[in-house]
Symmetry: C2
Subunit: 195 residues, 2 copies
């Protein structure tokens, strides 16, 4: 591998190299799925050295999250499901509501919902990533019959609630205080995921 400092034969990093890599990554992840996509193919499509992709982003997962501009590391969510399953709903709800209530993270999350809803390439991007990196590991932590389907119901509840509160802004959900929202969402997630 050629380190970026060594000025590889292909184009060195420039102001919009990062953007070119992300465009190439979105196309590669959408067409081949997260599992089959490679940093090498992304680098080739972006006309840069693979080491440069590694230098900018570190791992395939980090390239993916940057391509989606997604403010959450799925590994953190999966970690959160570890431990006492009798409180898993509240832990997840507290984490999710804290993200939503931070305006910058909320905007990025809603932008993902918007693009996924209106853009098949972005939907394919999420489709290929969500199962192996989020649903399957969460289901393994949760256990029990139909764990994957219940995890997806929980994620659907979370996304639907975000749309109700922040996009449609229907009352009374739109004006609930954060603690009341944690209690409401936490109860629903607990019934879906808890032991």
């Amino acid at each position: 591998m050629t380190a970026p400092a060594k000025r590889p034969g292909r184009r060195p990093g420039s102001a919009d190299t990062r953007g070119q890599i992300l465009n190439a990554a979105r196309a590669e992840f959408a067409s081949r799925g997260y599992e089959k996509a490679t940093l090498r193919a992304i680098a080739r499509a972006a006309d840069v050295d693979a080491a440069l992709v590694h230098h900018y982003f570190g791992s395939k997962e980090q390239v993916f999250l940057a391509a989606l501009d997604f403010p959450v590391d799925p590994a953190t969510v999966v970690e959160m499901a570890a431990g006492d399953l009798s409180r898993v709903g509240e832990r997840l709800a507290r984490y999710v509501v804290a993200l939503w209530e931070a305006p910058e993270a909320r905007e990025r999350l809603l932008a993902v919902v918007r693009t996924v809803t209106s853009n098949e390439e972005m939907a394919a991007l999420v489709r290929g990533f969500a199962h192996p990196r989020l649903v399957a590991p969460l289901a393994a932590r949760i256990g029990g019959p139909d764990a994957e389907a219940r995890v997806e119901m929980a994620l659907a509840q979370i996304i639907g609630l975000a749309m109700a509160r922040y996009v449609i802004r229907v009352e009374p959900i739109a004006s609930l205080g954060a603690e009341d929202l944690v209690a409401l969402l936490g109860g629903a997630l607990q019934r879906l995921l808890g032991s």
Copy 2:
């Protein structure tokens, strides 16, 4: 009121009169909210006689549903919540899944989700309608503390699940048979709404 057959002074119905009325209706509902919007103002903005709006659509609610191209009559959903609350989740889930599995209704429902997500005018349209015509009457049928918030959690679960199954198409939810889907969604709705 002047009946359309009598050729009122304003422009009579033409091929795209219906479309003009719906454009005017979307603007009026979005800017004033469902409750304050009037058929008279919609007619004025569309430059047609109010009787013509009545002739084409019947009621304000029907104008609204046509403006949104929404394939569901909320009154039907509210009726469904009447009766045995120990089976309300299954009844609602069966109705919703049957709609989703009909391709034409599904396409129209997803189009609403798409436009609401990406268009603030459409979000405002739904905001002004959803509470008085769907959430409040459903909550009155369901009863109990926090009934409105629980109804909105149920609607959020339904919309989120539609996105997971039909937009993102994440497995295993995307390939579940209709009966398994009714059982999964029905259970979640029952826990949110049931007595």
